[in-house]
Symmetry: C2
Subunit: 320 residues, 2 copies
DNA sequence: CTGTTAGCGCTTTCAT
DNA sequence: ATGAAAGCGCTAACAG
């Protein structure tokens, strides 16, 4: 492996001159530049990026922690992050955490070890204290409401959003409303549950735990969910489904079962993924791509902490 | 930032002793070990990974180049790679190339620059010569047939697979068969086109270019494709659709149009994504997760070149 | 404009 | 069992 010193020797100059031409610094005579360039050509030289990282204390690598790689929600988010990263000459290091705290710790440790310059956490499982304690090692930005925390975020107000959706259904005449969600824990889910409970309280309706369907993440989860649903003697007449994938799956099952949508069951999806349009699903559009871009951008703010809320939009189609 | 020398000073030992305890080397007295450990605790010390990389010439980073992040095909592949990477203590560096040669070059350059130890290319655009010329800098493994090339691969024989599918349709009585594909270029697509042309020749049927529908990658691409289809005066009676997403989209449009599937139009998907099951799509199952895992594994073979073909399986459902 | 030199933080030989 | 010291390849301050 040829290095900068070899190059210097070959070109008959000093190492710093070589460094200068490598980094397009001014104050290099045309003659020296030519000589160095020639040496580079002839040796097939390549910078050792690790040496540069060591020297500079910076890697141009951003870590992205997310539970699953294989879900359209995260796919879209990642796409946004990736586009902005490229634009800024950063690369992404990916961590599939599966919501394992131990995996999340590893990522945080990489920030500490300076292998990444900053960290984006798309959905977390670990404690806030943990994340905050790593804040000193570099920017950390989350995709959930962190307004009383010391880390940046780009988020959707899931409390308000859920309330809006619930009231929308209520106005359409629904009394028994349930919802489907990936997991019950996590900031976003807790927000939604709080909204749900408060909504119920406001309208003097009882809280009935089985109306919350957990583990609804992928298209195929609709099947298991609907089995539960069909066993109920008083099933909900309307469902908020926090993933369009699952909403589409449910709709599909209803169609097979001759269950009329929206008459027998109203369905509201979330995200406005392509599948929602195809299936004429009423849904809330989330600007995931845009969120991804901003997640990256806030990563570049070393010292300040930002909180940015993103708007959500109801797309009325045929399932309510 | 405290470093190994500070630690040594605090513990009253030499830097190499500190290094030894840090790396669990033998031959360290219990006394020294304790002292060092205490120093580490009290200082919140963290290794500088870049220094280690520089010293060792290895990063435990694998680059993954893929055109789109936001597609279930690559999602599943990535998931397989990611699982195996974690198991082997590697991290993934992601590159969304959008099939831009320039982006692919960047990735290759990172291999050369030793920022990654090896490279997985999920779908390439650039020339073979280009890839082969970077082979000396580290293992490169592709997800397409490389049997006459000097890089490893885990692949599906798309030529044979397509031929099988075509014959299957032919036996079902179809004379006018068309297909939908993401792009016409690239090894896999060229294989498929070759199979298609040879199939036609064998059965004495004319090659009709409009029966090949390009740009079919995402669910939403089905719409544009079907517009073309519906304008034809002699449209195909059967369609091979190289992505279940698009196949599902087409099926959906047919349903809306009262076009009977499979009677008016037979549809065969590829991948066996969850959506295929939901929609009762006849499809060819690809072991994408497994392919992902193996892609990673071959990355660990520094010197040998491997070619592994993966089997595909027909899943008969209701669209043929 | 240019070369020398001092690190960046770590691992590892070598001598003790 | 341990420490001194030699780098890994690069950048930038400094002195010319």
């Amino acid at each position: 492996m040829v290095n900068i010193r070899d190059l210097a020797k070959m070109a008959g100059v000093g190492t710093s001159t070589v460094s200068r031409v490598l980094n397009d610094h001014p104050y290099v005579s045309e003659k020296s530049r030519e000589a160095v360039l020639k040496a580079i050509k002839s040796t097939n030289y390549q910078k050792n990026i690790n040496a540069i990282h060591l020297k500079m204390g910076k890697t141009f690598l951003i870590g992205v922690a997310l539970p699953f790689l294989n879900h359209p929600y995260f796919g879209k988010l990642l796409e946004g992050i990736s586009v902005e990263a490229e634009r800024n000459n950063y690369k992404l290091v990916l961590f599939q955490t599966n919501y394992k705290v131990q995996r999340e710790t590893e990522v945080l440790e990489m920030l500490k070890a300076k292998q990444i310059d900053a960290l984006i956490i798309c959905s977390k499982e670990c404690e806030w204290e943990m994340i905050e304690s790593y804040r000193v090692y570099g920017p950390i930005v989350l995709c959930e409401d962190t307004r009383n925390r010391n880390v940046s975020s780009v988020f959707i107000d899931h409390y308000e959003n859920f309330l809006t959706a619930l009231e929308y259904l209520y106005e359409k005449g629904h009394q028994r409303i349930g919802y489907c969600v990936g997991r019950r824990t996590g900031t976003n889910s807790e927000m939604r549950e709080a909204a749900y409970r408060n909504f119920l309280k406001k309208h003097n309706q009882p809280f009935f735990d089985p109306y919350i369907f957990e583990g609804c993440l992928y298209l195929e989860d609709a099947k298991r969910m609907m089995e539960k649903f069909l066993k109920m003697k008083n099933p909900p007449t309307a469902l908020l489904v926090t993933s369009d994938q699952v909403a589409a799956g449910i709709l599909n099952i209803c169609n097979h079962l001759q269950l009329s949508v929206p008459d027998d069951l109203a369905i509201v999806g979330f995200d406005n993924q392509p599948i929602a349009e195809i299936m004429s699903l009423t849904t809330f559009e989330m600007p995931l791509f845009e969120i991804g871009r901003k997640l990256f951008l806030y990563t570049q703010e070393k010292d300040k902490v930002f909180y940015e809320e993103m708007e959500v939009k109801l797309i009325e189609r045929n399932t309510v």
